[in-house]
């Protein structure tokens, strides 16, 4: 196991992933859920680029990371649009209000 700069990046990305994982559990605001997902994807992006650097395929990992960035942005847009719609219909951004919805 290396303790160089790449090891620090790996460790930092893992810590970021753990923090966002915890945040996903405790967050109840819908907009903040989307925000926490963004943090989680950024940690995954960092791991992806670090893995590309470690394996010597940095260009391949860049093309993967580009796709992930596009998909991540679309997820944010759709999630925020859904959150705004939920706020408009229920008057709240709390996810516990969604459990009272009936089909």
């Amino acid at each position: 196991m290396t303790t160089g700069p790449l090891g620090i990046v790996f460790a930092g990305a893992l810590v970021l992933l753990g923090i966002s994982w915890y945040g996903l559990f405790v967050t109840r605001n819908l907009i903040k859920v989307v925000l926490v997902l963004q943090v989680m994807v950024k940690a995954a992006l960092l791991l992806l680029v670090a893995a590309g650097n470690a394996s010597g395929e940095i260009n391949l990992s860049q093309s993967f990371a580009l796709t992930v960035i596009v998909a991540d942005t679309i997820v944010a847009v759709v999630g925020l649009a859904l959150a705004v719609q939920v706020h408009r219909r229920t008057g709240s951004l709390d996810v516990t209000t969604l459990s009272r919805l009936k089909g």
């Binding site: 790996f10 992933l17 967050t27 470690a54 925020l80 705004v84």
Partner: protein, 186 residues
């Protein structure tokens, strides 16, 4: 800080800071193109989207007052266990390779030749994102016109029944035929 901040706007600013830091690390690892894209999209576009959504939906700072300490401890335990398992799977970390690419391809060649299917997927995703942005914008338009049309009786029978069961300000938009659909707008 992005997660624990009570204010949504403060959390958004912290998210932009995280994005900038991630972009810096990517640049240092040799992924210059993606670092620039991450900086512009992650710290720019996504921040603007969050601020727009917060200004539309309003700021609610209800948490973490609702979160009990027991639930927080359980969540932290699960997060630590899963992260440790992930670290155990990907460790030991290999040393950084000296070669830039085994095949000798540049980023553009890799993207357009090897991963051309990803490019098509990105086009589809961007189209879906454009639809979602239109939905986000039309939401604010709907909420404005809903207040105006709540006084007049709705023409459509289904929407009338639904409108009567909801309080003022939460009624559905009665008729959508007078407005162009999202596909027509695009």
């Amino acid at each position: 800080m992005a997660i624990t901040a009570r204010s949504l706007l403060a959390a958004t600013v912290w998210l932009a800071a995280v994005s900038a830091q991630v972009a810096m690390l990517m640049y240092l690892m040799g992924a210059e193109t993606v670092a620039v894209i991450e900086l512009s999209v992650g710290a720019g576009l996504v921040t603007v989207l969050f601020v727009f959504a917060i200004s539309t939906a309003g700021e609610e700072t209800t948490e973490p007052a609702h979160t009990s300490s027991t639930y927080g401890v359980i969540a932290a335990t699960i997060a630590i266990i899963t992260t440790t398992l992930l670290a155990w799977m990907i460790l030991p970390i290999p040393e950084a390779a000296e070669t830039v690419s085994a095949a000798g391809l540049t980023f553009a060649q890799t993207l357009w030749q090897q991963r051309s299917l990803d490019t098509l997927l990105q086009i589809v995703l961007i189209s879906a994102g454009a639809m979602a942005v239109l939905g986000l914008i039309s939401t604010t338009r709907d909420s404005r016109s809903t207040h105006e049309q709540a006084e007049t009786p709705a023409s459509h029978s289904d929407n009338t029944a639904r409108s009567n069961s909801k309080p003022h300000g939460e009624v559905e938009l009665p008729a959508r035929a007078d407005r162009p659909t999202q596909e027509e707008t695009v």
